[in-house]
């Protein structure tokens, strides 16, 4: 167990480095002047010179990278090229939104996906086919499109939920939840279907094991077999796919947050890309990477708790 966690932490350091190195290297490789790209065609030579100064473009990229990296260790990710604010303070203000969104999505995917998958495996027949069709649609429909349709249906046509905006949890838990319902549905669709697929396969496999047969053969009630023994054993592969799902959710926030005007990291990333605001994008990259690492650690912990063989070793 400890070994597993140590392995995960050891992998996380190259992960942070990889993301940032790639961005810095690309920036130096790109032909032409980055400052001109950022400021556009109508930039004045003075403006470009000032930006050069600000971005440190007169230094070689390795040096600039080193500068950025040493800043990172002091919790300094530079300043936004656009607003001039410190990147960390801008990101910290938005982190809560994205984390709430992703955590809710992971939760929904885990619960709904497992329920659907197990239902499909145990029932079989037409019920299973309905779940299959639902999963295919869930995988095929783009989440931003679903987001718009949800707003159109449940915020505009039937005014069930707010169309846009975010209320922090500390302010009003009820409104916080209401503001998240539609975004979570839109973003979870992929997760639910991916988990359902995994849960179904796992359940089918568990169903055919000796130990389930022995429990049945010795008179244990079907409900106990399904809810305790099948669920517990099918949960192990489900947890591993949850890690992958969580990473994809994080990416998904970029597409969905904008639709619901949620002030999170995803919508900021879109804005920063439009503005060519590299320090902010890099900062978000670091934040996302750290969130991914934490999510993976959580998955490993859950895996270890569910699987006694890992826990014991």
């Amino acid at each position: 167990m400890l070994k597993l966690l140590a392995h995960r932490v050891a992998l996380s350091i190259p992960l942070v480095l990889l993301v940032s190195v790639v961005v810095f290297a690309l920036e130096s490789l790109v032909p032409g002047d980055p400052a001109r790209t950022i400021l556009g065609e109508n930039a004045t030579p003075e403006g470009i010179a000032a930006l050069h100064q600000q971005m440190g473009l007169d230094q070689p990229w390795l040096e600039r990278y080193w500068h950025w990296l040493s800043g990172l260790f002091h919790g300094d990710l530079g300043a936004s090229l656009f607003t001039g604010d410190a990147v960390t303070s801008e990101l910290n203000a938005r982190l809560g939104v994205t984390v709430s969104l992703v955590l809710c999505c992971v939760l929904v995917s885990a619960v709904a996906g497992t329920a659907l998958g197990m239902f499909s495996a145990i029932r079989g027949g037409p019920a299973a086919r309905v779940v299959d069709v639902l999963s295919l649609t869930g995988l095929a429909l783009p989440n931003f499109w679903v987001a718009i349709v949800l707003v159109a249906l449940f915020a505009v046509k039937i005014r069930l939920f707010p169309a846009t905006g975010y209320v922090p949890l500390a302010e009003s838990p009820g409104h916080w939840l209401r503001s998240l319902v539609l975004p979570v549905i839109a973003l979870s669709l992929f997760g639910v279907t991916a988990v359902a697929k995994q849960a179904r396969d796992a359940t089918l496999e568990v169903q055919d094991t000796d130990y389930i047969r022995v429990l049945r053969g010795n008179g244990v009630a079907e409900s106990r077999i399904v809810l305790k023994h099948m669920l517990r054993n099918a949960a192990i592969p489900v947890v591993t796919v949850l890690g992958v799902v969580a990473v994809s959710m994080l990416s998904g926030t970029v597409f969905v947050e904008g639709v619901f005007v949620l002030p999170g990291l995803g919508s900021l990333a879109t804005q920063a890309t439009t503005d060519h605001d590299l320090p902010v994008i890099l900062g978000i990259g670091v934040y996302f990477t750290v969130v991914v690492i934490i999510l993976n650690l959580l998955v490993d912990l859950a895996y270890g708790m569910l699987n006694p063989k890992v826990r014991a070793s």
Partner: protein, 642 residues
């Protein structure tokens, strides 16, 4: 979005890969998917020629017109024709997918092949890098690339291909690893082909199915991301037509006109679906081609109802099985058990003996109502304690299980749920059969563990199944089975997986438990030693039929069926040191190949022409002895005894 790690498909054999495309096209799903993709790609490629309007031309007289004769899919809020915009927009989307997939192949193919084929340091580094890349939040890198390269979608798609390649690389590496072990690859190396030649000629073709599957799934994911980026207007700047951009246009006016969401949404969804399904179809086709050609199924032949003179279930028996037939479901049902019959008296131990494939386990599972999902009882009766149980549904059967009929299985380790502690598992059954919970159930569980002679039951109760030995696990399984004080215990090869010394202990335990509780045991085994040790009666099965029934004492001296005799001779106990074990030539015919006459005839040294002519009836030889052999008189006459 990130690609899900797909389970690696089983590598198809080299020859099976030829004609993959043809098989895909021949399956209905494959034909539809490929046709859709071809039409879509052609239509988008030829958009400048076939699109009804210029995608940028504004028809202000027909703003948001909805589908009509002039505008098949309607127009947007500037009066631009949606169909023309879809066709033109598809160009950038499909081109993006192509760029990403080509990049994916360029990166993943060589690294995967080399990692799998060369192994060593290169492999270790490549796998480590792949593991790291798998957890990269891909979208952020794409956004950085778009920002640096001034919204160049091509750069973003190439970056996406590079970042997505770790999944395919792993799959190819796996395939290359297996290919490396194949004889023909070794042979090619010995013939002096260079490594590159071996890889290109022999290893690469093996991976073709896997590559197509992964690439098409990746294409589906890429299209989602590409349209997402254009939706955020991070691709070609407006007013250029893009699929994502059309969704964004529709989003801004959905209050007035919801229709505009439909054409781009449906197009994106259908295209993603087509890519995804293409992967599925290729996977199914490769799996089918890999699986051995199905054995030709002859017409089903069932024997005559057995037990001449005793067609009715015995009423004085604890369990009485008559004419029990089991077949698979489906259009061509396959008979697995053919008119099986036997009796078990209260407190008696009956051995069910035969080679693998004779139907022993299937019989045992039919008795306890736990046939595999695709099998069912087609005829016959199973009478337990005077009442028929063969038609009971699962709910009614559950009332019998545990309390009156219980079971233990062959692999003690596999029989215990690995996720729960021993104590909790036994208590689970206690709860089911005694209706008690919590501390009381736990106390009873400890008592049961003590009854099966487990030393220090409290400590064992706290362990997980993987922390105890096989013999111990079988004791735990027995504890679970006797929790409800059953009258009949079905024991499917309870000692096969155990060491010889442990075997004897488990048999002793079963015997003493049986005497304490007057419990009958149906003991499935292929071990004559076990039969001699504990059984009072023997039922010998062959190819889904009972061929002999006899008291255990009699069968060893005078087997009444050539199969029984052959089984006894092949048993290691009957072989002296230095002698060759007299294995039975041939093997049990599979249900597809059951002959009309005696099913053992082809392996029998007493067979004569009459044996293969028709179904062999069961003969009553003497009190308690039945044989399904025409030549039983010759056999028992001593002439054939060795």
């Amino acid at each position: 979005m990130t690609t899900l790690p797909e389970p690696a498909p089983r590598p198809a054999a080299n020859a099976a890969n030829t004609g993959l495309v043809r098989s895909v096209l021949r399956s209905p799903r494959g034909a539809i998917v490929v046709a859709f993709l071809v039409v879509l790609i052609l239509a988008c490629a030829l958009a400048p020629l076939i699109a009804p309007y210029d995608p940028l031309a504004q028809h202000l007289s027909a703003v948001r017109s909805g589908p009509s004769g002039g505008y098949w899919l309607g127009t947007d809020s500037l009066g631009r024709d949606l169909l023309s915009r879809l066709l033109h927009g598809g160009r950038s989307s499909l081109l993006g997918v192509l760029e990403a997939v080509v990049t994916l192949l360029i990166v993943a193919l060589p690294t995967g092949l080399l990692a799998g084929y060369l192994g060593g340091t290169f492999d270790r580094i490549a796998m480590r890098v792949a593991e790291v890349v798998m957890s990269v939040p891909v979208v952020i890198i794409l956004l950085a690339v778009l920002s640096i390269f001034n919204h160049s979608m091509t750069s973003a798609m190439i970056a996406f291909g590079v970042l997505g390649s770790s999944g395919l690389m792993r799959v190819i590496r796996g395939a290359a690893l297996t290919a490396r072990e194949e004889l023909y690859v070794t042979a090619a190396e010995l013939m002096g082909l260079s490594r590159l030649q071996v890889v290109v000629r022999h290893v690469l073709p093996r991976c073709r199915g896997a590559i197509i599957i992964q690439a098409s799934l990746f294409a589906a994911v890429t299209l989602g991301v590409q349209t997402g980026l254009t939706f955020l207007s991070l691709g070609p700047p407006p007013p250029a037509a893009t699929w994502g951009g059309m969704v964004a246009d529709a989003a801004s006016v959905f209050n007035q006109d919801a229709w505009m969401l439909v054409p781009p949404g449906a197009t994106i969804a259908l295209t993603v679906l087509a890519f995804g399904l293409l992967g599925d179809v290729v996977r199914d086709v490769s799996a089918e081609k890999y699986a051995a050609a199905p054995a030709s199924r002859r017409k089903r032949r069932t024997g005559t109802p057995e037990t001449a003179g005793r067609p009715e279930p015995a009423t004085d028996m604890l369990l009485s099985v008559r004419d029990l037939s089991v077949a698979t479901d489906g259009e061509r049902p396959l008979t697995l058990l053919d008119a099986v019959g036997f009796d078990i008296a209260a407190g008696e131990t009956v051995g069910l003996v035969g080679e693998s494939g004779s139907g022993k386990t299937m019989t045992a599972r039919a008795v306890i109502g736990l046939l595999p999902g695709n099998c069912q009882i087609t005829s016959g009766r199973v009478v337990f304690d005077g009442s028929p149980v063969q038609d009971l549904d699962q709910r009614a059967f559950r009332k019998l299980r545990g309390r009156r009929i219980a079971m233990i299985s062959q692999e003690p380790m596999a029989a215990l749920d690995p996720s729960f502690r021993i104590g909790s598992l036994v208590a689970e059954v206690v709860r089911a059969v005694d209706g008690i919970k919590g501390k009381a159930a736990h106390a009873r569980a400890i008592e049961l563990l003590r009854m099966v002679e487990i030393p220090d039951p409290e400590a064992v109760a706290r362990r997980f199944p993987h922390q105890i030995s096989g013999g111990m696990a079988q004791r735990v399984a027995i504890a679970m089975a006797i929790a409800g004080r059953p009258e009949l215990l079905i024991a499917d090869e309870p000692t096969t997986a155990l060491d010889v010394t442990v075997q004897a202990e488990i048999l002793d335990l079963l015997r003493s438990l049986q005497q304490q509780n007057n419990m009958a045991i149906l003991l499935v085994t292929h071990d004559w030693g076990v039969v001699a040790d504990v059984c009072t009666k023997v039922v010998v099965m062959y190819a889904g039929q009972v061929v002999e029934t006899a008291p255990a004492g009699a069968v060893f001296d005078r087997p009444a069926h050539p199969y029984t005799r052959a089984l006894l001779l092949s048993s290691p106990e009957n072989t002296h040191i230095g002698e060759r074990i007299q294995a039975i030539p041939g093997s049990v015919p599979t249900p597809q190949r059951w002959p009309a006459g005696c099913r053992f005839a082809s392996r029998c040294d007493l067979a004569q022409p009459g044996c293969t002519e028709g179904a062999i009836p069961v003969k009553d030889i003497s009190e308690g002895r039945l044989s399904r052999c025409l030549r039983v008189d010759t056999l028992l006459g001593g002439e054939a005894r060795r």
